[in-house]
Structures are given as C-alpha cells and as structure tokens.
C-alpha cells in the first residue's frame, strides 16, 4: 500500500461545521461542558478564568448545550460559507478538502441524509366516514399482536364431537414468534454500540414483549437470559456465533446486507475492540473486527438455502430463520429466491438505513428507498403465491408511527426501528458514530462515556417510545375502522398517493388521492 501523507503535516483548509456561542453572562465556569465533550472542544483556562472553545472539533451533538446548568451554550451550524453554488455545495467542498488532506475513504455514521424522495410523505391514510364506523381504541379491543414466521398454505381443523366446541388445528405449524407490537429494534451490535445501550435495548424488548437484534457482535453470556427476545445474527464475520447463542434466540438472522452499506462488509476498528468486545466476538483485543463483504459460504440462492438449513439444523427446526438484505435493484426477484431458499422471515433494509460506520459515498448513493422495495417485494410474493411462506420485516428510516402504519399497509409484517430507538436513548444524529467518541454514551466503548447511559432509564425511554407509537397506531387503525393490525397488512386501499408520478403509484400499487 502506498504510504499516505497524513493531515498533521499540512495546514488544514477545513471550515468548522458548528459555531459554539457561550453567553458569558450566564457561564459559571462549572466546566461541565469541558468534562462532557469527548471531542475536546471546551477548555478552561485557570489563569484567565475563562472557558475557550475549539469550534473546529465540534460535531454538533448538543451534549454540552443540554447539560449546561445555566443554558449558557448555543451550538448551531457555522454561518461561515463559501460562495453559494448549487453544484459545489459546502458539503462537497469540505469533503474534497478532507480527502486532499487524508487520501482516505470518507467515513460517516447514521443513515443517508440526502434529499431523496421520502415516499411516506407522499402517501396519506384513510379514515372511516359514514359508510363504515370508526373504532375508538380507548374503549374497544385493538389487536397489535403480530406473529413472525412462515405460515401454512391452509389450516386444517379437526372437530372432536359434534358440538363444534372442541376444535384443534390439525395442520403442523411452523415455528413463529409472537410480538406485542409490529415494531422490533434494528440490528445494532455490541461493539458498534456500548454495553449499556445494547442492554437497554434488550431490557426494553423484554419488557414490552418485542424483539431486539444483536447485530453481528454476539450476545454476552450474562445477557443470554434476554435470548427469547433476541434476533441473533449470523453474518459474514460469524462473530460470537456458538451453538448456545443460536439456541437461546427467538429468531436467527442471516445478514447478507445492510441498507446503509449494501454490498460491502464492516470494519469495527481495532480501538473499539476492547477486552469485553474481544470476549464476545472471539478475536484478540485491539484486532480489527473485519466482516467480509460476502458470506463466503453463500454465492447463490442455493448456497443461501444451505446456510438457512444449517441454522435450522443447529436450532432443531424450532427457530424461524430470517434473511436480511439491503434494498437494491431486482429486490423482488431476490426476495422470491430467498423465500424459496427457505427463509421464514425476510428483512429488507432500505436506502435510509442507519449504520455505526460506513463509507459516506456508499451510504449516500447505493440502494433504493424502502417504500418502493417493500411494495415490489410484497407484490411479487403475492403474485407467485408464496407471500404466506414468510414474514416481511422492513427497515431503514422509519421516523414515526404513521410510517409504520403505511409500511404495514404496503405489505410489511413488522418494522425494524433503529434510529428512533437511538434518539430515544439520547442520540442527536451527529453522524460521528465511527469515531467511538459518542458523548451520549451510545456508540462508544470508552467506559467514561458509556457510563453516562443508565440502562434502567434508557430502557424506560425505549419502552415509552414503543408505547407511544403503539397507541398512535391503534388510533390510526381505529380511524380506518380496523381493529387488528392483521387486517391492515397489505391493505393498499387505505393508502393514497399525493404528488407522485404514475410509475411511482404503479410500483407502490396504490391509487392517487381523489381516486
């Protein structure tokens, strides 16, 4: 490899991204800001009894502003601008300068922040008026319970005796997992996020009766008691995959791809591989945890089938196997192959899916929006008569309960929520996850930082989020005159498009508003 000339030998041309405004009349020199900032923006000068700020280091995570006891700090985007240029935006120029100074691939965290069309904002929901009564969820039963897994083609019932009282299902059923609300937490590995954040997700999933996803960093031994609420991943790095890990879980997920970085692997940098991480991942401390881009035993649908059944064998056919892919071109055909390969759940992660670290160029340019991918997959599976063979889980940029309702009406069984869960715990989407310096204690392995997150409190915030969204979903369902989320699944009659082109309506399989 060519040895790169590093930035420290050059004078940096970068502009600061944020401006730190300190209202001196309010600042009491308590130095909270200095202690809270892992990026070392704030520095107290004892002699001058003043706090100085190095704005170039500020990432805009707002930790200091929120914790400042006198509200003395305001952090906002830096007003310094280059000459306005629609083509050469500030971000483009800054990225060019960064690469000129480092010669590297620009990393980022979190989800795609580019203004691609968000279809959820162009789809509106229906409500009952006159011809069909709406339902009040506060006083009438409303079912959000969802079952994930393969469903039989038909149900055969056996009636014992002539009174129709004693009925049993004669069909042999496939393993299914019950969740109390159609939302599960997205895959975030212990390693990418802190132990505290990981445990918070596990605790919240367990308390609410839904699932969290271990990502591909394994499940620490002492957290295996949360296994029945866990989707455990078997990804290309196979980190932490042992027979007990597979057998303690509710669902085993084969990770093929991720919405934020389709087609590429993951590198957990060596500095994040601390002792506890190395125990769980089973690699020496300080070693880069490299997840290869492909799974090297899967080069085809037939090979995928081989791993799916290897996992079913390893779990005694008692656990549904999910396969997660990034939404890309031809996603419908790929999904069809996945179902035929034996996947009980197919998980699709869209263009706006989040990440702990990904090359920015990939995050911002590869993949397709989840709305279109979901609609295409659901339609294809129905056309082929195999929609019942799998549950569809979708991920990638769900921001509110309405997005969830719209996704279910487009054919999803349940939705993965990642970024909302992180925000609930404290994340402000500063996109610096890859630095390992998360001031909110979420995306870091530094014990000084991760201690800031108390799993008791963070899991409460997560449960509150699930509860709030679930209540809103019930309100929306009730308004449509539906009393079970099952009845909404794939029910496109409740959706209408606003401001969409014909081809978009066609792909989504919905009518335009007014029709």
């Amino acid at each position: 490899m060519v040895e790169l000339v590093r930035g420290e030998e050059m004078f940096s041309h970068m502009l600061p991204e944020f401006i730190v405004e300190r209202r001196e009349d309010r600042c009491i020199r308590c130095r909270v800001c200095e202690r809270q900032c892992a990026f070392e923006v704030h520095k107290y000068d004892k002699e001058l009894d003043m706090v100085f700020s190095d704005e170039k280091k500020c990432v805009g995570c707002q930790r200091c502003a929120v914790l400042c006891p006198t509200d003395a700090l305001v952090i906002r985007p830096h007003p310094g601008e280059y000459r306005r240029n629609a083509n050469w935006t500030r971000e483009r120029i800054q990225d060019l300068k960064k690469q000129a100074e480092t010669g590297g691939v620009i990393l980022t965290g979190s989800g795609n922040d580019k203004p691609y069309r968000i279809y959820w904002d162009h789809i509106v929901l229906n409500a009952s008026q006159v011809t069909n009564p709406s339902i009040d969820p506060l006083r009438e039963p409303m079912e959000l319970r969802t079952f994930l897994g393969r469903k039989p083609d038909a149900l055969e019932l056996r009636f014992n005796g002539g009174d129709y009282e004693d009925v049993e299902v004669a069909t042999e059923l496939y393993p299914n997992v019950m969740i109390e609300t159609p939302m599960v937490f997205s895959a975030m590995s212990y390693g990418a996020i802190s132990y505290q954040a990981f445990k918070s997700l596990a605790m919240a999933a367990s308390e609410y009766g839904t699932l969290f996803n271990t990502g591909e960093g394994g499940l620490p031994k002492e957290l295996r008691k949360y296994g029945k609420n866990a989707i455990v991943q078997c990804a290309s790095g196979r980190f932490g995959v042992d027979p007990e890990y597979l057998n303690c879980a509710a669902v085993v997920e084969i990770k093929i791809g991720q919405g934020a970085k389709p087609g590429i692997g993951g590198h957990l940098p060596g500095e994040k591989v601390t002792l506890p991480i190395s125990v769980t991942r089973m690699i020496p401390e300080g070693t880069d945890a490299l997840s290869p881009a492909p799974q090297h035993d899967i080069y085809s649908i037939e090979d995928l089938s081989m791993l799916i059944y290897a996992l079913k064998e390893a779990t005694n056919y008692e656990t549904p196997v999910s396969v997660k892919i990034a939404a890309v071109h031809n996603v419908a055909a790929i999904a069809s192959g996945m179902v035929r390969a034996g996947a009980d759940i197919i998980a699709i992660d869209g263009l706006r899916g989040g990440t702990g670290a990904a090359p920015k160029i990939i995050r911002d340019n590869v993949g397709i929006p989840i709305e279109l991918a979901l609609a295409a997959v659901d339609r294809r599976l129905r056309e082929e008569g195999i929609r019942n063979k799998c549950s569809i889980l979708v991920a990638g940029g769900f921001r509110c309960s309405a997005d969830v309702v719209k996704a279910i009406a487009l054919g999803a069984d349940a939705v993965y929520i990642g970024t909302p869960a992180l925000v609930a715990m404290g994340c402000t989407l500063c996109q610096k996850c890859y630095t390992g310096k998360c001031n909110w204690g979420i995306c870091t392995q530094d014990p000084y930082l991760s201690r800031r997150l108390n799993p008791e409190i963070a899991s409460k915030r997560l449960v509150n989020l699930l509860r709030g969204w679930s209540l809103e979903i019930k309100e929306m369902l009730g308004g449509m005159g539906i009393n079970a989320v099952e009845s909404l699944r794939g029910n496109r009659e409740h959706l209408r498009g606003v401001g969409l082109e014909d081809w978009e309506l066609e792909v989504l399989g919905i009518k335009g508003a007014g029709e």
Binding site: M1, L4, K98, Q99, E101, T102, G103, G104, V105, I106, L107, E172, C234, S236, G237, R238, F239, V241, D242, P243, E244, L246, N247, H267, P269, G270, S278, V279, R281, M282, I283, P284, G286, T287, D288, A289, L290, P292, H296, D297, S305, M306, Y309, A310, E313, A314, N316, V339, R340, G342, P359, E384, G385, I386, K389, Y434, T435
Partner: protein
C-alpha cells in the same frame, strides 16, 4: 408431511419421514448405534442421531453416506453435554459438522464444502480430501484432512485466549488459503506434492490474526500482502510436534520425515490491515 414452496418441492424437507417411520434404519446396541444412511435424507439422519444421543448412545456409525449435509450439526445438548463419536463411511455432503458442539467425527471417504463451518469445538478427521471453505469461521477444536482442500480454506478462523482452533491439511490447497484469518493455527503439509511447489495464490490475504505453517515450496508472490514470513520458535515446534504428530499417527505417515521438512511460518504483519484506508 409434504412441503412445497409455490408448487415446487422443498429440496430439504420434501418427503422427510417422521422419526417413528425411520427408526428401523438405526441399530442400537448398548451405547453404540449403527445407522444405514443410504436411504435417508439429511434431516432424517440428524433426527436419528439426535434420537440415539438422547437414548444414551455415545458412538454412532453411519454407513452408506452419500452427499447428506449437516451431519453432526443438530447435536447440541446444553445439559448434560455428552460427547459423541461419529464414524462416517461414505462421502458426507456440504457443511459437515457445521456449528459442531464438541463431538468427534471421523470420515472414511472424501468430504465436500464447508467442513467444520463455524464449528465451536470437537474434532473432525477426514481420511480423504475436502472441498472449499474448510474450517470457515472455526472457533475451536481441531480438523485434520489427509489429502487436499479447496479454495478459501480456514477463512476467518478465530481464536480467543485458550480457545485456539487447529487445522492440519496433509495435501495442498487452492487459492485464498487462510484468507481473513483472525486467529487459530493452520498447518499445510504438502505431503502429496513430491518436489513440486504449492500452487495456491493469495495465501493469507487479509489475515490479521493467527499463525500459518506451510511445509514445502511457496514463493513470495503467492502470499497475500498482509502476511510476513517469520522465524520458527520453540513454541511453534511444540505445537507442530503435537498436532502433526497426531496427524501422522492417525493417517499413517512417518512422523520424523514429515516434521523434518522445511516449514514456513506466516504471520499477519498488523492486527489492523485496513486502518489507514479511512479518513476520520
């Protein structure tokens, strides 16, 4: 039960018979079971093996195996943890001993792809050759292959503290041998090469942990750019004496002759091969 997907027969579960219908294929006497696998599909064999293990059987002999996958994968018993000995006559299919939980498998025949895939512990011996991705993501235990192996052997093998997987291959290997290795010990003996060199390219490419020992001729251009040649130490010879010694004993090679050959020790040059690719 008939399984079909969209009208197509399920390749894995189609026409699988219930356990009670296939019990006659197993012959259990004391703690040894003999299974006639020639008319069983993979799930039926594993169903029977699981049944036998739960009946207290500690040694299972499979006869007439021909391409059935995942043999040994279903033998996870958390408590108590019996350790089984499985003797396979014939040619097991892909993913032999995948996720293996500490059992011992001896194959009298050739194995296919994915031997010991993500295996956690135990031992697999193959009196023959094996296919691609042998010991992929292996986490513990030992695999000994008498003859050659295919592509991407020992890819992403791992280790942690005293849990160090070992792979010994008697013959030679194809390209990408030891790719992405994150730990473990891999020995390539080249016993069937005579004076010819190994032909594998990209040996140890992306390697960032573990050690490889190669006996026989390898040129520098055959190595991945992340590995370097280092000197053998006392510890290394002790390791080779143990595992290569066992290998020779099991497969009938002359120990001194094998250990007397030239060994090349390969180690990754950095634990962080791609640390400099990114701009932070």
């Amino acid at each position: 039960m008939e399984y079909s997907i969209g009208g197509l027969r399920d390749m894995f579960l189609g026409n699988v018979r219930r356990l009670e219908d296939i019990l006659s294929y197993a012959n259990i006497s004391d703690d040894i079971a003999e299974i006639d696998a020639s008319r069983l599909v993979h799930k039926e064999i594993n169903d029977l093996m699981q049944y036998c293990a739960l009946q207290g059987v500690r040694k299972i002999v499979l006869r007439g195996v021909c391409g059935q996958r995942y043999l040994g994968t279903r033998l996870y018993f958390p408590n108590p943890r019996p350790r089984l000995e499985i003797e396979i006559h014939g040619h097991p299919g892909n993913d032999l001993g995948a996720f293996l939980d500490g059992h011992r498998i001896v194959v009298h025949g050739n194995a296919q792809d994915g031997v010991g895939n993500t295996m956690d512990g135990g031992e697999i011996l193959v009196h023959g050759r094996a296919g691609d991705v042998v010991a992929m993501s292996m986490r513990g235990g030992r695999i000994l292959i008498r003859d050659d192996v295919g592509y991407r052997t020992a890819i992403h093998m791992k280790e942690y503290k005293d849990k160090v997987p070992v792979l010994v291959v008697g013959g030679t290997a194809q390209d990408f041998f030891g790719e992405y290795m994150a730990g473990g010990r891999v020995v390539l003996l080249g016993l069937n090469l005579g004076n010819k060199p190994h032909r594998a390219r990209y040996i140890g490419t992306g390697m960032h942990g573990g050690i490889m020992f190669i006996r026989g001729k390898v040129e520098k251009w055959q190595l991945g750019k992340e590995v370097g040649i280092v000197d053998m130490e006392r510890e290394d010879w002790k390791l080779l004496e143990k595992h290569v010694g066992d290998f020779c004993e099991i497969f009938g090679f002359k120990r001194d002759e094998v250990l007397g050959g030239d060994f090349l020790k390969l180690k990754p040059m950095t634990k962080r091969p791609y640390g400099k690719v990114y701009a932070y």
